[in-house]
Symmetry: C2
Subunit: 251 residues, 2 copies
């Protein structure tokens, strides 16, 4: 999307093209700190100077330093605690936060014509069967047990995200691949789909069939039947897709 050349005629309607002549101080401070954190100069757990000193170190006021810290904190690069022994600390990288953030961003994009729900379903159809294959190839005994448990877990209809320890089957399977990247890509997609499904008020009509599919896939993985696991998962996703389509929740 190159900047469109001046249209032939009068004034080009370049509404959304404001330039940023000077970066505000709080942004400069945030960028500098971010650079240092990403470069490893400030490893996770490091305690930064208190806000007053930090501001003085950068030659800005405490308010400005605070705004910079708010930026970094909202990107989960640092976290702050109150009280003595409190302060601002460089955060440990946390995949769960990344998943949350990506899911939120996808939720926004999926409301635009740029990203359609069918795109998410297609991506899922690409990811999860492959994940099932990898899980079947690699899962150790403990992981297999986790997958089995997730497949057998009672579906708490009225209590979504109920108690700790209950992970969705698809999530468990993504993690069972041992490749965090697959979880990072697949989980946000599933989150968005589930959210939309719930908001659309889709009823639980065939969830016993869904559970049966899950158990079948889990068994394939337990037995190390990679191709069968992949195929079963593909069928399962296609089936789910049909369910979504029938309920026509993507308007």
């Amino acid at each position: 999307m190159p900047p469109q050349p001046p249209a032939s005629g009068t004034s080009a309607p370049v509404a959304h093209l404001r330039v940023q002549r000077v970066r505000p101080a709080y942004r400069q401070v945030a960028d500098e700190l971010r650079t240092q954190i990403l470069a490893g100069a400030l490893p996770a757990g490091t305690r930064l100077p208190n806000e007053g000193e930090l501001g003085r170190a950068f030659g800005v006021s405490r308010s400005t330093a605070r705004e910079a810290l708010r930026v970094l904190s909202s990107q989960h690069l640092v976290e702050t605690h109150r009280g003595v022994q409190g302060g601002t600390f460089v955060s440990e990288p946390d995949p769960a936060r990344v998943v949350e953030d990506v899911g939120s961003a996808l939720g926004v994009l999926v409301m635009t014509p740029q990203l359609h729900v069918s795109d998410l379903l297609e991506a899922r159809l690409l990811l999860e069967p492959a994940a099932a294959r990898l899980a079947a190839q690699r899962a150790d005994a403990e992981t297999v047990e986790a997958v089995r448990t997730a497949a057998a877990a009672p579906r708490d209809d009225r209590d979504p995200s109920g108690f700790v320890g209950h992970l969705d089957f698809h999530t468990t399977l993504l993690m069972a691949t041992g490749n965090l990247m697959l979880t990072l890509m697949g989980q946000p997609v599933n989150d968005v789909l589930r959210t939309r499904l719930r908001r659309a008020g889709v009823e639980a009509r065939e969830w016993d069939k869904v559970d049966a599919c899950h158990r079948e896939i889990a068994e394939h993985i337990a037995e190390g039947r990679a191709s069968e696991a992949e195929e079963a998962m593909r069928d399962h996703i296609v089936e789910l897709r049909r369910l979504y389509e029938r309920d026509g929740f993507w308007a």
Copy 2:
């Protein structure tokens, strides 16, 4: 990762388990505004009240309102402009920003033992051949032309990300699928890999071969040979992977 039960013995070393008793006001304001934006109550382009009024509306001071806005702004949900006719506006969702953010987050995670570079390569090996297949199936004339151009584009070695309009071949191909989700997943991975590659100072020894692969894939796509395109891309990725491994940059 369930919270580990109290260990048998004395005090459980629950170092990183600080609770958040009360959410700070700036966080509450940010959350409330974010909710409204995500719910569509504040569509993109909406101009929020100025910082003073916004604070008054929430019963907080202007500084607190500003910190809330910094949070939202760093999440690309709003953007601010100065001057008369300035103010805070709800942002248009922008896939490029999402790609940037995810790439940054991945860059952090890849420095931990949680996410290995080989995980990225595996994800890429999963995504891009599928993308090549889809592109071959769907690409229209214009898209084909873009892919061809990207494949033929002179590789500017010393001028990375040189001029506008030059897009990486892999990026172009991801976009050629017409499925934004694939770009959203694949692009950050490629960005991280490219960054590490550059930092590791990998030399351009076989890039002519790489370019030949690109052109071959582009031709497959142009001719609509889906399976061939997929297979060629798979070989290409495997080849690249070998190149990465030989240069041993993932230490």
